[in-house]
């Protein structure tokens, strides 16, 4: 029987495919090397071996990374979440307003004393959770496209964040609160969430249902999944993560500002897509998203390091996102 096959081993061998994250990891390393080389050429110093720059970069990534972990799960269900940046701002405002030290001027809750730190934290998380719950319920109950529902939330939450103090920033937060944003804390929180949701997506019923819904909603329903309820859960989790990001961001900035997280939702989506999460649903992993976020962060950091104009940074980022989406389309087309 094998007489007709000249080289069956070769046929099978070339076929083994590597995990998709590996290729993105190479992209990340490639970018790092490029900046390193350019750094020595133009700035006469190392890009990578500068702990201060790396710390800033990773801190920056942490906040967007938290949003990206949420939106990854949403995209896997074939949805989208445009509201994460605004929800971050609203949560930051509410949390900050409850985190001010005793005896300082308060734009809201005048005359309130200092509160134990868990209150602002829980409040911030709660605000995000409720926003996510509203997103999910709207989508599940009315069947409107996630794009529209979360676009509405994006505008509304931003409006609420501004209305909350009529645009005034909230400062002088208590030390115990700002500790959440100090040092390596944001990075720890981000990595912890990444691990939690990586595990949740791969090894729990929650994760398997999420992929199934993204793979084929009708088949998911036939297989006994309560699709609506699960979608609500996914959007709620994404909202809670935005809330957490709001807490971290305000703690780190030691203030709440209604303009926080502006257009972060796009960076979060970009991180996911660069990381191999397919907009067609059913495909993607947290590891990819984390690497995607690192790529974005490194671009920003590297461009700043090289003194490249912020507007040009924006343009390059846009190009990279489009390239990532093209790569995604190409990946899914090749399978026909």
């Amino acid at each position: 029987m094998s007489t007709v096959v000249t080289n069956p081993k070769a046929l099978v061998a070339k076929a083994r495919r590597l995990p998709p994250e590996l290729s993105i990891l190479f992209v990340l390393l490639g970018i790092a090397v490029i900046f390193e080389v350019l750094g020595w050429i133009f700035n006469g110093q190392s890009f990578l071996f500068n702990s201060q720059r790396l710390v800033i970069m990773i801190l920056q990534v942490s906040v967007i990374g938290l949003l990206a972990i949420g939106v990854t799960q949403v995209i896997i269900t074939t949805g989208i979440d445009l509201s994460s940046g605004s929800v971050l701002a609203l949560s930051a405002m509410v949390a900050a307003s409850l985190a001010q030290s005793a005896d300082v001027a308060r734009p809201v809750f005048e005359g309130l004393g200092g509160l134990p730190v868990f209150i602002p934290v829980v409040a911030g998380l709660l605000v995000g959770t409720v926003c996510g719950l509203i997103n999910g319920s709207l989508i599940a109950a009315t069947g409107i496209p996630p794009f529209i529902a979360t676009l509405g939330m994006m505008v509304t939450a931003r409006g609420l964040a501004q209305y909350y103090t009529h645009g005034k920033p909230i400062s002088q937060l208590s030390d115990s609160y700002t500790a959440i944003g100090a040092g390596a804390m944001p990075v720890m929180i981000f990595l912890m969430m990444a691990v939690v949701f990586h595990i949740a997506l791969r090894y729990t019923k929650y994760g398997k249902y999420t992929y199934a819904i993204g793979g084929n909603m009708t088949a998911a329903r036939v297989s006994g999944i309560d699709v609506k309820r699960h979608l609500i859960t996914v959007y709620t989790i994404a909202g809670a993560l935005s809330g957490l990001a709001g807490v971290v961001a305000s703690a780190r900035a030691a203030s709440g500002q209604s303009g926080m997280g502006l257009s972060y939702e796009l960076d979060a989506i970009a991180a996911a897509v660069i990381g191999g999460v397919s907009l067609a649903g059913g495909v993607g992993r947290i590891t990819g998203t984390v690497i995607g976020a690192l790529i974005l962060g490194m671009m920003t950091s590297g461009f700043t390091f090289l003194g490249i104009d912020a507007y040009i940074q924006q343009i390059v980022k846009g190009v990279i996102i489009v390239v990532a989406v093209i790569a995604d389309t190409y990946r899914s087309k090749r399978k026909i």
Partner: protein
Amino acid sequence: MSAVLKDQTSSTMPRAAAGTYLLEAEGIMKGFPGVIALAGVQLKLRPGTVHALMGENGAGKSTLMKIIAGIYQPDEGQIRVKGERVVLHSPLDALQKGIAMIHQELNLVPFTTIAENIWIGREPLNKLGFVDHAELFRRTRELFDRLHIDLDPEEQVQHLSIANRQMVEIAKAVSYDSDVLIMDEPTSAITEKEVEHLFAIIADLKAQGKGIVYITHKMVEVFNIADDISVFRDGHYITTKPASELDRDKLITLMVGRELTQMFPKTTVPLRDVVLDVRSLSRQGVFSGVSFQLRGGEILGFAGLMGAGRTEVAETIYGMYPASGGEIYVNGKRVEIKSPRQAIDAGLALLTEDRKASGLFLVLPVLENMEIASLPGFLGRLGFVRQRTVSEECEKLRQSLRVKTPSLYQIIENLSGGNQQKALIGRWLLTKPKVLILDEPTRGIDVGAKAEIYKLISELAADGVAIIMISSEMAEIIGMCDRVLVMHDGHVTGELKRDELTQEAILHLASD
């Protein structure tokens, strides 16, 4: 082995001088991750003939067709069109060389009109460069007139039945006016009436000297329309013979590589207690007054023409749609089934009719496809899935169902149609159902696998599982069922016992 067979072939094949073949593919090899789909196969198509390509699920038929249609590139081998060597880089390439293909899976765009679907990518334009819709619809009407298809070109594809979508696909392929037309299981989703229609179209194309490669798992069709028959097995070329030299049994032996002794291994098993009792179930405007009882170990058939309401009855019992009247009892207890989850928990399972639309998670691995409906039964703490246990169960089922895949981690989209179906049956067996509802369980499945699935159904019945089998295939209804309910237009028109089961009796009840 194949060298010998090839020699035999040339002696029995109707001779065609070099260069008179419309299409020749030779020494074609193609590998995928972990699979050799084609290990050096050939196909030679004479003008004015229908060439049937036969083989079990996963034999490599669709893969060869995709290579000929320019979708895949072969690892080795060559293709000649009318004697001239060609390299096809894309479907467009193939179309320009005169090769068009009707795919096994429907590929229409649902939210556009029939006409736009047919002429997609080659729409007639007006002077301003916009699509000339009047001309578009006119051309479509002309095409439909020629093919005697009675559909409105302006209708949106999403409103069409599966059968009509298939007719649109066929019209689309014909519209390219190609010399070579590839049809990959064109009749797996259409009714008797449309099959006749398709055969008339094929006869017409033959008369015009075109060549048709035809893939099917339906034996009757092959001997009805094929001039030549080629057989593949496991990626290997076995033989090519004129249809007149073969009969059903010889062909099956060539395909499966052994003699198939028993197609319908139906055994009589003692019937147990009533498991499912459906009393005057109705759904407004779709069906009404459906009542039946089903015992453990029994195989109850639902026969009828397409659109008789059989699928809808099953879906309503299964909780996908609310019933407007009636009661359901499982094991003597009244149940209110409002969702598939409740149905599964009550011990029901439903293998749906349309694999791609409501069965498969195409982008996910075989494992995830199999385990999904049973996960609540395999949970540890914190919602963690007891993965080792589930994977072992799935692996056992994969082996007993003989799902052909390099591993459970293969993306299910890469399995052949029949193996996808077996994996889906595995999904439902894993839920350990008391009542298993199978809606067209053998659609697109090869004879060998069919026999295996029938055997499996018999074994399940022997284990006391109650089985409902909805099928449009007379042979399997007659061969497998203890009892058959025939439906017509939303009503049960009659019930036949096993000894009363004949094609005439069923047709009589199905059409009055």
